[in-house]
Assembly symmetry: none
Homo-oligomer: 211 residues x 2
């Protein structure tokens, strides 16, 4: 990093800002109060009961729900734990986002769209839907040795891997290989070379989701 003058700071500032998306003035309204209220009422709780559960004062809860205050992190933590808030609704943004699009696609076991390769036998799931943010598929790992692959598999995006059965060796470009068994999972950048090899008696089966 070379420095020229004292105003080399601003450009960096701007650059970083842009990279991260809006930070300063923008940042959605974050209807936290609204959500907390609907969550509480959904459980049929009064402020008094919620107060007991969370250890927070009734008044505090009321103010949070009416967006009169911005609760501290410790208070939010008590809220989450006390009311047993479900994860997805916790980190999803406002959700006032209109269009309740109601797509749904069920794929029965073994009914996916087959896509065999030399080393893997993929089965694409939810293929009736297009424009998905994620692409889920199950895979039977036929490869048995590192050498079965001509080269690293690399592509854009991120990938989540969950071992359904059997055991695999998970090779990645920048790490030592790891043995994964049923129930183990991994999350990684696909730009980093990666590949799977079955090491169990039978071919291992894994679930992959890419985004």
């Amino acid at each position: 990093m070379s420095e020229d003058s004292e105003n080399m700071r601003e450009p960096l500032h701007e650059t970083l800002q842009v990279q991260r998306g809006e930070t300063e003035a923008s940042l959605q309204p974050l209807r936290l109060g609204e959500r907390v209220r609907s969550l509480r009422l959904g459980q049929g709780l009064t402020l008094e009961e919620a107060s007991k559960l969370t250890g927070l004062a009734r008044s505090t809860l009321s103010k949070i729900e009416n967006e009169q205050i911005s609760p501290t992190f410790s208070v939010v933590h008590k809220l989450v734990n006390g009311l047993g808030i479900d994860l997805p609704q916790l980190f999803s943004e406002p959700s006032n986002s209109a269009q309740p699009s109601g797509r749904r696609d069920i794929t029965r076991r073994g009914e996916g769209k087959p896509h065999p390769t030399a080393t893997y036998e993929h089965e694409l799931l939810a293929t009736d839907l297009s424009h998905k943010k994620m692409v889920p598929f199950t895979t039977r790992v036929r490869a048995r040795a590192f050498g079965d692959f001509p080269e690293w598999i690399r592509h854009d995006g991120e990938e989540f891997l969950y071992v359904l059965s059997g055991a695999i060796l998970f090779y990645t470009e920048f790490y030592e290989p790891v043995r994964l068994e049923a129930g183990d999972s991994a999350y990684y950048d696909c730009t980093m070379g990666h590949m799977l090899v079955s090491v169990s008696e039978e071919d291992a089966e894994v679930l992959w989701v890419t985004a």
Copy 2:
């Protein structure tokens, strides 16, 4: 609810507390500062740069990292957006391992970060990574009846569901409920109300990925 005296409050308090697991004094330390610092350093940022990115004062960031203050939710929000942190990660317990720079995170079976609710028992996966496009977690479905849910669960984004074991009824707002068994999967818009109920002898276990 009959009231006798002013001290009938405590017993109820205790009762409710127990039902939900510890809330008050307990609630693990939540080394927020520690995590924020490692996240910031992991990105090679100085307090000054982080300040520009988040719009927060250097001093404020310093105090947060040194656990001298509990930031308000709005401040946490700026932090999350400015530094690209996953919110769920902040509410699950601190992870011992520092952020790897190569972006790969392995989660062993049963080693996720627990997050129990009244109806589900979630286990967050890959919590060492932040800024993920997807959030994967496994869930034990405790709910046994439609009525166990006060209302539809609804939030932004899309969700992929894969049944690991047991059998569930998959209720969605705009479709008839469907029975799903091990190996079956579903992909749907989360803005549409949805919920799961176990219908097998034992609680069903599912894998969820949201994006």
